[in-house]
Amino acid sequence: MSIKKGIEVSIAASIAAKLARVEVIAAYPITPQTHIVEHLSELVANGELEAIYINVESEHSAMSACCGASAAGARTFTSTSAQGLELMHEILFIASGMRLPIVMATVNRALSSPLSIWGDHSDIMAARDTGWIMLFCENGQEVVDSIIMAFKIAEHRNVLLPVMVNLDGFSLSHVIEPIEFPSQKDVDSFLPPYKPLYSLHPDRPVTMGAYGMPEIYTEAKYAQEMALINSKDTIIGVMKEFGDKFGRHYKPVETHNTENTDFAFICLGSTNENIATAIDELKSYGKEAGLIKLRLFRPFPKDELLSALKDKKRIAVIERAMPAGAANGPLYNEIASLIYNNRLDITLENYIVGLGGRDVHPEYFIDIFDKKITFKTDKNYTVIGVRE
């Protein structure tokens, strides 16, 4: 029997990790991730979760300890934000290169400087090419479901890659939402105990983390890349199995109101809810705008995205990170490349919103639709609401 209750999303995320029966958690506190790790350490302290919680002295050691624990065969979980994600950056590549099925809840937050504890996507965009599978969540229910699915994806023998579940700092992590929790019994039958293919054990010695000379490095990285790209099939399979079992259906790319319009927004994370609100309001004026939501960001769901946008004439890519001198925001660049490679005639626009926790109002999206916010082609993108 599943239970539905009003709960803070961070607490819900830690309950999801408990339902997944994580065995080792290594984490270092950072706002806005703290409520997740606080509740997990409470669950361990009370004996409600049979796991070891390692109070590491930094995020670098958090990810390092996760690598050790996962390599030794334990189901391993951690969580971080912003500076913490950057401090563990080096080890993120190693976790994926060593094919360790670690799951991390990344509570997206702006990067310093200036210091900001508030939400945006500058942290995850700086870590997007670390070889992890990356899911984005729009609401608390998705966070819970994604964490449970993440372990099943990560540990699948055809995948064996770490998975990041992204949730927006504060605007998602700290809100109270009605969330349905599956029963432990159902989660257990969906997600059986982790049986590693190889693990560090004296009865079966293995060497992990050997170095690659030029004659083998390319092949090693190519094999890893293929595993990441091919993981999409497993991800879709796990999402389907989850839907069949729990009645909540997910897809790598989800759409809202895209059928009768040639305009769509594309966005990641909880901002999608603000956009959906704007779309409903536009509808009340008789205007139709669509929304294409990327639930899966890595591997980049090219085919699914292409079928969602191919009939569109105008697309606004909404991002929560500065391009940092690039031609456009990182999400835009990948969508532009997809559109170019398929010779589609689509007008693409790029809008930057919600940096460092700046409020994102549904009116922005109404104004974008109505072209009241002008798209600055000379700058390639428009930063909404910036005081120049």
């Binding site: 290594a26 002295e57 930094s58 050691s61 390092s64 300890a65 690598c67 050790g68 065969g73 080890i91």
Partner: protein
Amino acid sequence: MRLKGLELYTDHPEAEFVASGHRACQGCAEILALRMALKVFGKDTIMAMATGCMEIISTPLPTTNWEIPWIHVAFENAAAVASGIESAIRILQEKKKIERKDIHVIAVAGDGGTSDIGMQALSGALERGHKFTYICLDNEAYMNTGIQRSSSTPYGAMTTTSPPGKKSIGQSTWKKDMAKIAAAHNIPYVATACPSYPFDLFSKIKKARSVNGPSYIHILSVCPTGWRIPADLAIEYGKLAVRTGVFPLYEVEDSRYKITYSPEPLRPVQDYLKGQGRFRHLKDEDIELIQKRITAQWEELKYLCSLK
């Protein structure tokens, strides 16, 4: 002493956990130290190794020299990786997912991976009380990358980033005392060792393996390549380091210091420094300064050992 040594010799296991064919330099006392240590740690050992000489000489994909489970993640995090392994083994045994037996986790790093870049991860792991042994194989510089100075490089030594010159004596700082830093964590067991004194090393590894909590062994590992000495003198220079008091052999058991081999009367440091290319440029007054420091350190150590 001889008899006691012989007993230990007959005691120590013949098993080898380092396969031959590794790529260490001729006369490398580091791989020797590790080979000796692994004999005592035995089969039921999991090793987390930092990037460095021992990693690079042993594991070009797809080959390995390790006959025990071994993992390398990065340079600065061997202690953190070991923390994760130790925790995983403990919980998997508690949950009866793996058989309950005495598996020991060790973390191995060089002096750079320990006293510089890995210090934070090491301090964290020692403070948290994981049951594991951390071994620092100290060859007194970043030898793997081409002999750059570390905080463990001794005063006056020439390295590629502490070259002597008109305005430089070479390494201008005194060697960081890592064993004392480890001891300051009040962990059950800390020791220094040197493969030139194998029985002393064996007995310390045995103790480190048996204590219930973190243990730290700092092993002086003579590096002929970096120290600019003939390869066949590695063992000799290890002995000289001990006999001059440059590298005293001692242990700290439950915060009590004890010298395990007393070389008194100490030989002059000149005997240790003179044949090494890395100290060739030192003048008499430099050596005098080093002698003063070494004598003072030895006296301090004796004082610490006198405390009850």
